[in-house]
Amino acid sequence: MSTQRGRIQITGFDADRVEQPDEAIWGDDEDTAVMSRRQRIIQQLIRDRFALVGVFCVLLMIGAVIFSRPITVAGIVVQPFELVPYDVTATGVGDRYEPPSLAHPMGTDRLGRDMFSRVLAGSYYSVTIGFIVTGIASTVGIIFGSISGYFGGTVDEIMMRILDVVFAFPGLILALLLVAVFGGGYWQLVAAFVLPGWAIYARLIRGEILKVKQNEYVLAAKALGARDRSVVFKHIVPNAIAPVIVQATLSIGTVVIGVAALGFLGLGFTPGTPEWGTILDAEQDTLMSGPDADWNWWATVFPGLMIFIFVMSMNMIGDAINDALDAQVDNINHGGGG
């Protein structure tokens, strides 16, 4: 085995090549080299049991997002399944604060609503906002950072000062202010996390591009008369994308925690929305029952646990990708500096 798990790799010795010397010498044209590197990364990911558990949990949660409630697009039912056993807003399906039982696996809340239905349906908010925010933020960041890194000079200088300003706000505080401006709600929250979130990708891809730009194939592409746009997006970005992928995987978790935090502060969604943070906000006074009274633990434990499991899964996947890509992506977390 040529590689060892973790960040340290033994370089200069590749057991596969020793075993198949012919292929190493003759079969190593551009295509197979890329393929085998990709395969190696995938193989390493499969070997990483943390990552497998993470992928499994994330798939389960995506399943919950899709199948918990029927989806209709323009009046047509595209997804008829309904996994939630009770209507998420129906009060009094059980008594007030019923402990977990077969009928209500996660108990009931202060209005007698079924916690399991609410927690399951709540996956919709966190999971989709996490992916949408990361998708938009990374796209914007990649474009911004590529332009800045590729052109350099004054353009770069100005664009980097803009980044400095965004970085001077801790993410959650900018999101707080933005939610105060836009009000709560689904797309408002997306905006509130995209606006501070893109900067990290911009800085990351810029740094990578400064490295990749030096390569001869970039010069060759330019010499062949390729336009700037195609040089950047066909030649430079694909070779600089690895750390961005890792960052994106890891920041989905950050976004999900942020969304839940705003929900918890009462700023994210209207009270009663089955979003995990909002549920926690509504139920947090169950903690104050005192040492003698019973603690209705299910009302706060399950929503928080769901946030934790989803974020943990994403982080395990991101961490494993980081390990697999290895030396290329050192310093991935160092974005707050400078």
Partner: protein, 318 residues
């Protein structure tokens, strides 16, 4: 470039950054649909439109936005952060009252983070790829993944409410008393957990990297005890990478303090910011945001300076 010039240049570069932060924050507060006067009038059924107009004139909110902004800048430059409209004291006095609380919480969080992360990192690095390493990786990922407000709620439920080890009520003692430690522990642990987990991962990675280097083999060959090799050589050299993320982690602690202070009823700047946003207290929001922005700029600068001291090559990049 000399270190002094390097620091000066970085300080100068932070001026436009803070200017940008102030413009963005000021602009955003003015974009909110309701302003402070609307909030005050909404709470008072007797107030008329004329009263609202009078209040706006009194607060200077009837002026065009750029004039309000210039007034604010002029105030800041002369050390006057404006007044808290809905309450008595001025913003400066309020900041001074709340700031030590947040700093105490943040420092406690940092101390906790270092106390856990350094031994944890050493443990993981010396057991690389063995069970201890995997266990610490799992622990660190959990620490990064756990939402701080939920962690706070759970710690409070278990250790304060159920076991009754810590006080449940909001802090009642003066900040610098020994009793206060009891109030500080739970929020401090909550705020330090993520930083601790991040730091542990970073230390583990960089220590594992250092341990493969020749000087470590040389030190071992000289017959130095493993303990000395790890602590005096490996750990010390790995600290450089820990220093570079210190600013990033400080930013995390600062933004974490907002939520954690709300959970624990801690009377610091974070909880004050939420109050200020809910009431649209412009001057208060501006002062806190500027302070946080400045803190992050300073933290970054401090990290860069430490880095430049540790590794002089970096100075040429600026």
């Amino acid at each position: 470039m000399s270190l002094r010039r390097f620091v000066l240049r970085r300080l100068l570069a932070s001026v436009p950054v803070l200017f940008g932060v102030s413009v963005i924050t000021f602009g955003m507060i003015h974009l909110t649909p309701a302003d402070i006067v609307d909030m005050m009038v909404a709470n008072n059924p007797d107030a008329t439109a004329a009263d609202a107009a009078n209040l706006r004139r009194e607060f200077g909110l009837h002026l065009p936005i750029w004039e309000q902004y210039l007034n604010w800048v002029a105030g800041m430059l002369t050390g006057d952060m404006g007044e808290v409209y809905s309450r008595g004291p001025d913003v400066g006095g309020m900041m001074i009252a709340r700031l030590p609380e947040t700093i105490a919480l943040g420092l406690f969080g940092w101390v906790f983070a270092i106390l856990i992360a350094v031994p944890g990192g050493i443990y993981a690095a010396t057991r690389k790829d063995r069970f201890g390493d995997h266990a610490s990786r799992f622990a660190a990922l959990s620490g990064i993944s756990i939402p701080n407000f939920w962690l706070g709620l759970m710690l409070m439920a278990i250790f304060a409410v159920e076991l009754n080890w810590f006080p449940v009520l909001d802090p009642q003692e003066p900040l610098l008393s020994r009793e206060m430690l009891w109030w500080l522990i739970l929020p401090g642990v909550t705020i330090g957990t993520a930083a601790s987990a991040n730091l542990m991962r970073i230390l583990r990675t960089s220590m594992a990297e250092e341990m493969n280097k020749d000087y470590v083999t040389a030190a071992r060959a000289k017959g130095l005890p493993e303990r000395t090799v790890i602590i005096k050589h490996v750990l010390r050299n790995s600290m450089i990478s820990a220093v570079t993320v210190a600013a990033f982690l400080t930013a995390g602690i600062v933004s974490g303090s907002v939520v954690v202070e709300v959970v624990f009823g801690w009377p610091g700047l974070g909880a004050l910011l939420i109050e200020a946003i809910n009431l649209r207290e412009i001057n208060l929001i501006m002062a806190i945001t500027m302070f946080v922005g400045a803190a992050i700029v300073v933290a970054n600068l401090a990290a860069d300076i430490m880095y430049a001291v540790l590794d002089p090559r970096i100075r040429d990049e600026y």
